[in-house]
């Protein structure tokens, strides 16, 4: 039941299955899967081999885990490059996925900052979508559910695959 192990080849699944996955591992696995189901406009990347920059705002440990898991992985020929940011001002303009960890205080400013850029915004706060976020990792009982708001994604020129939408809760605001 480990989301992380899904990424490993089937033959190796048995080896890494024993320890219970941490919350950071779960979140990291989710964040690494998003690029497979989201399509950015072509001009969002400078070239065909340009990496997908994932910026984690605030949560250093998640950033570490993410960096470790993304090592050597590629989606459609693009490598995943993980960065950490202390505050919205630190976010690099070429970030294509921004994860806002738990810190409401950043949220409004951050979202205003990236509003018109082709950036997938992912959060984990109850009011994240209300504030204009695109995907929220909602905690339900002992599982993580995806909540998707389509309007800001469309405004940013992002296309979210219907296969992702099928397993997510689509929220219209």
């Amino acid at each position: 039941m480990l989301a992380a192990s899904c990424l490993a080849p089937a033959g190796r699944a048995v080896e890494s299955a024993d320890p219970a996955p941490s919350e950071d591992q779960l979140k990291a696995a989710f964040l690494l899967n998003f690029p497979k189901y989201v399509e950015w406009p072509a001009e969002a990347f400078p070239g065909a081999q340009a990496p997908i920059v994932v910026t984690v705002v605030g949560d250093l440990s998640l950033g570490e885990e993410l960096r470790r898991m993304a090592a050597g992985k590629a989606v459609d020929g693009r490598k995943l490059e993980v960065r950490n940011a202390e505050s919205p001002e630190d976010i690099a303009p070429d970030s294509r996925i921004i994860f806002v960890s738990d810190a409401e205080r950043w949220t409004a400013g951050l979202l205003a900052h990236v509003r018109t850029s082709p950036v997938l915004t992912v959060g984990e706060a109850d009011d994240f979508l209300d504030a204009g976020g695109m995907i929220n990792l909602a905690r339900r009982e002992r599982r993580i559910r995806l909540e998707v708001s389509l309007a800001p994604a469309e405004a940013a020129g992002l296309k979210i695959s219907s296969r992702l939408l099928r397993i997510a809760e689509v929220v219209k605001r």
Partner: protein
């Protein structure tokens, strides 16, 4: 199984069936093979197609499952698998990931999960009833899981069954067609053989050698037919001779049989006729065998008459209970003599008590005869129901008794005569009256023979009239002088005597002797006449009294007139005339001087003049008085003449004005009316002329006026008044005498005209009675009215009147 047996069976069946069987077996094998190949091919095609269909389904489903696997969402994966529900053939689907061998499962509702098939590579496996399809789930070339879809092969099996059904139907239809075709085609070969076989069979069973088989061709069968026909011809020629002899015999037998049949039919018809007669005849018939005391044969009429059913009749003594004991005894006695051979026939009347309570009378006739075959004695008994006859007889006897009682007991002469007026039957009283002990001497005689011509002529005429017209003569009074001079009065009613059909066959009559009544009537008549005469004489006396009274009155006047004239004459001035004459004689010489000079003499002339005028007036008075006297005498003459005219013999009718008679009546009472100070009012509204017996009317009116006078007198009132009124109409005139006297009480009013009734002390009581009779004789009536005592009374004489009498 012995393989020879089916072959033997095949050997025994007819050629045509063999041929058909061979053809059909061949066709069946071919068809079955074709169907089998077709079905195998179809099964393979179906499997391939199904595999392809499932593979594409699994591809789509796997694609939809990637996100659920990536984000570890088994619930979403199950939802995606649930979409397989739309394909009914899919029984089970199963997603395996490297981390989870049971990531998501779908199981068709109500289906058993099929056994697992271990397989980790893509492809399809047919396993039992199921097709298992394995397909890896890939995302961007990376395999992230394995999808297994299991479909059942029910569709295939259903389809195979359907194909099997169709194949069976096609096989059956084909076989039928093959059968029909082969049955038709086989005739080409087997037809002639079968015909030959049938013919041979016919010849063998019916022995008919005249038949031949038609030739079909020159093949082997044709030759066979020729040989067969030839054989038949030889047999036939031998057979014909035999047949002729046999036919002759048969003809004779048929003739005999027909004759016998006819005789039998005739006998059967005869029997039916006798049976019908026996059952429908209204006469009871029974067949009795004395030997076994049983009645063997009984017809329905016999059952009806005796009330004993045919079945019950067979028991010995069956009729003992229903027969009258006396009759039964008599019958038994007769039967005994019968059996003894003394008599061979008897007849008697027998009574049967019917179950419904009726007693049936029957005439029983029995005849004995011997059965020609056995010689046994037997009897045939007939019963004729005569109950109605008996009843009618009793009724007739009763009627006859009634008639007899009437004829014997009636005191009147009752008789029935034929059209020739001969007496058929008459009452005993008629015989007795003619001096016979009974009526026998009178029967068959006519009136001429019994009473003589005086009676016979009239009665014969009457009877002829009745026979001619049919009209009865009712209550005719006849006077007969019997031989010996006795006068007999009879009241006779005669009427036609009619037969049952209404034809007049004579007369019948009843004569009642009314001589005593007639005599009493005559006596009464005489008394009545005498009374009338008395009445008339009494009336005449009354009239005479009136007349004399009037005459007396007038004589008074005559007396007064005579006395007056005598007085006048006695005191006449004739002496003065004598004295004057003496004076003149003394002065005879100087008469002139004396008359002129002497003072006495000068008065003489004066005196004479006075005397002359005095005598003249005296004479006038005397003449007047004498004239009065003459008138009175004339009056008396009239009264006497009137009395004479009324006293004349009655019956003479005169035509005269009615009021003259009224005036006469009043004049006769004038003295009495004036003496009693009764004022008389005449109210003559009409003055008709009538034709009547004058004295009768006068007598009635005199009577009425006198009664009125008495009534007024008795009332003691001051304004006594009698009014006489004449009025009437076209048909009658009325003279009413109205008084205002004592009146009549209602109870007296009803009997006032009775003979001998009177309210006056010295009245004789038949004034009004005879008046009423007289009025009736005149064709009129006398009526009385009164409102009661003290209210006065009105008596009215009504007389018939016609215009003709007025004109006359």
């Amino acid at each position: 199984m012995n393989p020879v047996r089916p072959m033997r069976w095949f050997h025994d069946i007819p050629i045509r069936r063999k041929q058909v069987l061979v053809i059909m077996l061949t066709s069946t094998v071919a068809l079955v093979l074709a169907c089998a190949a077709f079905m195998v091919h179809d099964t393979l095609a179906f499997r391939r197609e199904m595999g392809e269909r499932l593979a594409s389904l699994a591809g789509v489903t796997g694609n939809n499952l990637t996100a659920a696997i990536d984000f570890n969402d088994p619930a979403a994966a199950r939802e995606t698998l649930d979409a397989l529900r739309a394909v009914p053939a899919v029984v089970h689907a199963h997603v395996r990931t490297p981390d989870s061998p049971e990531f998501a499962t779908y199981l068709r509702e109500g289906a058993e999960p099929p056994r697992d098939v271990e397989r980790s590579v893509a492809g399809e496996v047919f396993h039992g009833r199921y097709l298992h399809l394995f397909r890896p789930i890939e995302r961007s070339g990376e395999t992230i899981g394995m999808l297994e879809v299991v479909a059942d092969l029910d569709d295939l099996h259903r389809r195979l069954w359907r194909y099997a059904g169709i194949a069976g139907a096609v096989l059956a239809a084909s076989l039928l067609l093959v059968y029909v075709l082969s049955a038709r085609l086989e005739r080409l070969i087997t037809g002639p053989i079968l015909e030959l076989t049938r013919l041979a069979h016919t010849v063998a069973t019916k022995r008919d050698y005249a038949v031949r088989v038609g030739k079909r061709g020159a093949d082997e069968i044709g030759q066979l037919i020729d040989a067969f026909n030839e054989m038949l011809a030889q047999i036939q020629s031998r057979d014909d001779a035999l047949q002729k002899a046999r036919d002759f015999l048969e003809e004779r037998v048929a003739e005999r049989t027909a004759a016998l049949k006819q005789a039998q039919d005739e006998a059967a018809r005869e029997q039916a006729r006798f049976k019908f007669i026996f059952e429908s005849v209204p006469v009871g018939i029974s067949w009795f065998v004395p030997e076994d005391e049983a009645t063997h044969l009984v017809n329905p009429a016999h059952e009806r008459i005796t009330g004993v059913s045919a079945e019950a009749s067979r028991r010995p003594g069956a009729f003992a209970l229903v027969s009258h004991p006396d009759d039964y005894r008599r019958q038994q006695a007769l039967t005994a003599r019968f059996v003894a051979g003394e008599i061979d026939q008897y007849s008697l009347e027998e009574r049967y008590l019917h179950p419904d309570g009726r007693v049936v009378w029957a005439v029983l006739t029995s005849r004995m005869f011997s059965d020609p075959a056995t010689g046994h004695k037997q009897s045939v008994t007939t019963l004729v129901d005569i109950s109605e006859l008996k009843e009618t007889e009793a009724e007739l006897a009763y009627e006859r008794d009634l008639l007899r009682a009437l004829l014997d007991g009636s005191p009147d002469a009752i008789y029935f005569k034929d059209t020739a007026s001969r007496i058929l039957r008459c009452s005993a009283s008629l015989g007795r009256s003619m001096g016979h002990a009974d009526t026998r001497p009178l029967i068959g005689k006519t009136d001429m023979e019994i009473f003589g011509p005086e009676v016979a002529i009239e009665s014969r005429a009457d009877e002829e009239q009745i026979i001619r017209t049919g009209q009865p003569i009712i209550n005719k009074t006849e006077r007969t002088v019997r031989p010996g001079g006795t006068v007999v009065w009879t009241l006779t009613t005669k009427m036609p005597l009619r037969s049952v059909t209404g034809e007049i066959i004579g007369t019948m009559g009843i004569s009642k002797d009314i001589t005593p009544i007639k005599q009493a009537e005559e006596q009464l008549e005489a008394v009545h006449k005498q009374l009338l005469e008395t009445s008339r004489q009494a009336g005449m006396a009354e009239v005479a009294t009136g007349v004399l009274h009037n005459v007396g009155n007038v004589l008074n006047s005559v007396n007064v007139s005579a006395t007056l004239v005598a007085e006048q004459v006695r005191h006449s001035e004739t002496e003065h005339l004598a004295r004057v004459c003496k004076l003149l004689r003394e002065h005879e010489a100087d008469i002139g001087h004396y008359l002129q000079e002497d003072p006495q003499g000068r008065q003489v002339l004066q005196f004479l003049e006075k005397l002359a005028s005095h005598l003249a007036s005296e004479r006038a008075e005397n003449l007047a008085e004498l004239d009065n006297l003459r008138k009175n005498v004339e009056h008396i003459k009239e009264i006497v003449a009137m009395q004479q005219s009324y006293a004349r013999v009655s019956g003479l009718e005169e035509t005269l004005p009615l009021h003259e008679i009224v005036e006469d009546a009043l004049r006769m009472n004038a003295g009495a009316l004036s003496r009693h100070e009764i004022s008389l009012v005449r109210d003559y509204r009409i003055r008709p002329t009538i034709t009547v017996e004058r004295h009768k009317v006068l007598q009635i009116l005199v009577n009425l006026v006198r009664n009125a006078k008495y009534a007024c007198d008795d009332a003691h009132r001051v304004d006594k008044q009698v009014t006489v009124r004449i009025d009437g109409d076209d048909r009658r005139v009325r003279v009413a005498v109205i008084d205002n006297g004592i009146g009549i009480s209602p109870e007296n009013l009803t009997r006032i005209f009775s003979h001998g009734f009177t309210t006056r002390k010295n009245g004789h009581g038949f004034g009004l009675h005879s008046g009423a009779l007289a009025a009736r004789q005149l064709g009129g009536a006398l009526l009385a009215r009164s409102d009661g005592p003290g209210q006065g009374a009105t008596f009215i004489l009504e007389l018939p009147y016609t215009r003709e009498t007025t004109a006359a």
